[in-house]
Symmetry: C2
Subunit: 238 residues, 2 copies
């Protein structure tokens, strides 16, 4: 058996029965205050599909991997192209490649990311933000993928210090605590929380305070030096 392929390179590849294509998608989380509520919730942007398969359904932002770019670069690029976002934290999640996850054979390298509320660009064509706890039925296996990403987020928040990826440069301990409480889904003791993050050595106190309602709260910033070396031998690997 032989096959012949003739196509313009600029278009999306036509489906070839024994070809495998590589896509890159990103689950990108932020925290936002629910309208009509004082509680924060995990939210993520989805893109409405404008072509088959699953036309009209919501899907994770992503696109085809380009021959000339690394995996992480492809995640950043496709994320920017579809949503206009540039996350502060980006990490590979998993490679999904079940044969029936798409009509044609697609292996998706999925990344997950965190973004600060102030970095969010709103009102992008075909993009909408959803509460992670109340997603509609998504295209492909994307519901499953989001579930897994949420699991990783909750897990990682437990032992790593990535929560600052959801906050602006300077923040109060109460704001940081709210991030943890939202992701973990339970209340944390303010006193103990303070001591734990202070002793972790990741926080640098500033001389600025957030004023407003009651006693002013000291603003902190993150110590960027600690950041790395948690992922093991892989620095910024693809």
């Amino acid at each position: 058996m032989t096959r012949t392929v003739l196509m313009p390179a600029e278009t999306i590849p036509t489906v070839i029965d024994d070809a495998i294509r590589v896509a890159v998608s990103t689950v990108i989380f932020t925290l936002r205050r629910l309208p009509g509520s004082d509680a924060a919730a995990v939210a993520l942007p989805l893109v409405r599909r404008t072509r088959d398969p699953h036309e009209g359904q919501w899907a994770l932002p992503g696109g085809w991997l380009d021959v000339t770019e690394d995996l992480g670069a492809a995640a950043s690029r496709t994320l920017a192209e579809t949503t206009g976002l540039a996350p502060s934290y980006l990490e590979q999640l998993y490679a999904f490649g079940a044969i029936d996850r798409s009509p044609s054979r697609v292996v998706s390298i999925v990344y997950w990311a965190l973004i600060r509320p102030d970095e969010i660009v709103d009102a992008v064509e075909n993009v909408s933000w959803f509460d992670a706890a109340a997603l509609p039925e998504l295209a492909f296996d994307h519901n499953e993928i989001v579930d897994y990403a949420l699991w990783r987020l909750r897990n990682k928040v437990g032992y790593s210090r990535i929560a600052h990826g959801l906050l602006a440069d300077e923040f109060t301990l109460a704001e940081l605590r709210e991030v943890y409480e939202t992701i973990l889904g339970r209340r944390l003791d303010p006193a103990n929380f303070r001591r734990q993050v202070e002793n972790s050595g990741n926080l640098i106190p500033t001389e600025r305070f957030r004023t407003g309602s009651h006693r002013p709260a000291r603003l902190y910033r993150y110590n960027q030096d600690v950041e790395l070396a948690e992922r093991g031998p892989l620095g910024a690997r693809d």
Copy 2:
């Protein structure tokens, strides 16, 4: 710009300048007793490459992903084809896709696995076992990959109970402890180790004992029920 491809489907695809191919490789660990020493060490099988690129160099067992098989199935198949091994534990490690990791563009979905010494089939053509601590220079970025897999192994051994993937069905606590000591690279207190692993609820004591040198040691087996649910929402996902 257009391109034309004409090829028999049974052969390995020829290199096409703007094509991306998907490979699957596996880092598979076992423990073996070093010759002329009483200490155990982490070892893994490598395959000598018989064609370019990197002909003659050692590489991880693997092969091309088939259109009709899931990622995990491809890992199992290529592992069996190249080494004859069927691991008791197999999990996705990472997707490697840097543009310069191979002369042509290859994205490798890498799995890592554990195998029991009694499952090892020896004397397979072009396959040789190496001490993980003293590897030669491998093909592609495979040294990096093994380093990362070793890091994950050590990490996971700390919080998960996968060490039994390296032991036969029944084993003494001393044998189990040796597995941990070898992977972690430090001695563990036998008394404390016993209590910890006993209280974890993963061990089932048998009425059999290993006799030999001194006081007989009770044999244990693993409680298979606990096994799962550790990977989150992904059961046996690809």
